[in-house]
């Protein structure tokens, strides 16, 4: 999948990691968070090798996966207890923090219901809580806003900003430019397993104007007449 991703990320910033579908965004995150351990090269988190000191690294990072990967016949309270315990939190902390966060995310009245009755956005909220409850220093988010309603989107964006201000590092992966360009201090654009641009949004825009990134940039920002035409063609095919 990946053909050479060389990145150095400074602490205390939000890194937007962006690329079209299938570019290798999730794969990168899975390698850093230790889900995939068969890869070539070297990955270090806070100076520690992710394969040699996996436990130390995993204690300090939080991972919010995409596609709502959780045990959905549990209730959120049970699920948070499960993940909290794996992070070594005490029962009192899990119960207190968990309940408080569920309330803040508007899930208090559904806290005793099994998550297979939940919508995608509600599951995403539970994943956010479970990934952040142990107060990690680095946070990996893979499409964290998918399925969230408008209020929750604003809430999460604001949360990310405040987390950054308190010194956390955030690795934000998405294929939608909109959000990324607003919150990121630095954007890394990848395609087909390669880094093709790296810098602030202004640098990227400049490069896009020069033509080197034009087509890929368009596919991410999607404010282009070409997409309108594609849409039109699709509708034509459907109608024919």
């Amino acid at each position: 999948m990946l053909k050479g991703i060389d990145l150095q990320v400074a602490p205390g910033m939000i890194l937007g990691y962006i690329g079209p579908n299938g570019a290798g965004k999730s794969t990168t995150i899975k390698i850093i968070t230790g889900i995939i351990d068969e890869f070539e090269g070297e990955v270090k988190v806070m100076g520690m090798d992710v394969r040699k000191e996996a436990l130390e690294v995993k204690k300090r990072i939080g991972y919010i996966p995409e596609l709502a990967a959780l045990y959905d016949s549990l209730t959120p309270v049970e699920y948070l207890k499960f993940t909290g315990k794996l992070y070594g939190l005490s029962d009192a902390v899990i119960a207190g923090k968990g309940w408080e966060l569920l309330k803040l995310f508007d899930l208090a009245d559904k806290a005793e219901a099994r998550m297979n009755t939940y919508s995608k956005g509600m599951r995403q909220k539970v994943l956010l809580i479970s990934g952040l409850m142990h107060n990690p220093e680095i946070i990996f988010l893979d499409e964290p806003l998918s399925g969230l309603d408008a209020n929750a989107v604003i809430l999460v964006k604001e949360m990310l900003q405040q987390l950054k201000q308190s010194g956390k590092t955030i690795f934000y992966s998405s294929h939608i430019m909109d959000v990324v360009e607003k919150i990121s201090d630095r954007i890394v654009l990848i395609d087909q397993g390669r880094v093709i641009a790296d810098g602030t949004i202004d640098v990227l825009r400049e490069q896009a104007q020069q033509g080197s990134l034009e087509s890929i940039f368009k596919s991410l920002t999607a404010t282009d007449t070409a997409t309108t035409n594609t849409a039109k063609e699709i509708i034509d095919v459907l109608n024919s």
Binding site: G34, A54, A69, S73, E78, F82, K85, L86, Y87
Partner: protein, 213 residues
Amino acid sequence: MDTFFLRLFFTILKFFHLKGVNLEQVHMIASTKLMLDRRRKPATWKRSQQKEPGNAMLYTMFVYALMGLFIGLMIFILPDFMLAMIILHTYLLFMLIMTLITDFSNVLLDTSDSQIILPKPVTSRTLLVARTLHIIVYLGQLVLAIMICPLVLLTIKYGIPIGITLLVTTLLTTAIGIFITYILYGLVLRYTNEQKVKDIIGYFQVFMTVFLQ
């Protein structure tokens, strides 16, 4: 029932002092997995019963215990001891493998685990021990449900030494059952793809449903 088994095996586990294994995490993972088992609809659950099972595991165990009662009565009546034992163990092996394939396949071939547990600070040894503990508790319940009636009836008819011997052979048969299931999975996965495995599991589930009705 499963909490009892979990406590029993967990206490045994404590005596081993395994290196690099976090027992608190082991307990948490195993008990959560057992909770998921309790809430999972068994493959042979009738479609007409739309509502969620309160305790699916207990229901399955009850059905198996009932069937065990019939088998137990049969060996009680049969005059030939050898024949009775052959039937009983064949039955145990059959039930075990069938249940392992139909109900337990999503445990043995679980992929959501990697997304959920691997990013957490859990060593691979801890995960291995937790999974083994879960499988042992699950099988413990199952074998107990299948064999409780035959065991009692056999002890009444032939005496306590034979009863204890049956206990030992039951454990051995269980080991063979797990072995055969793994070989089966291994072979199927070696020569075909995952979709095929799901199809084959589907066939087994249809067969089991017909068999149990």
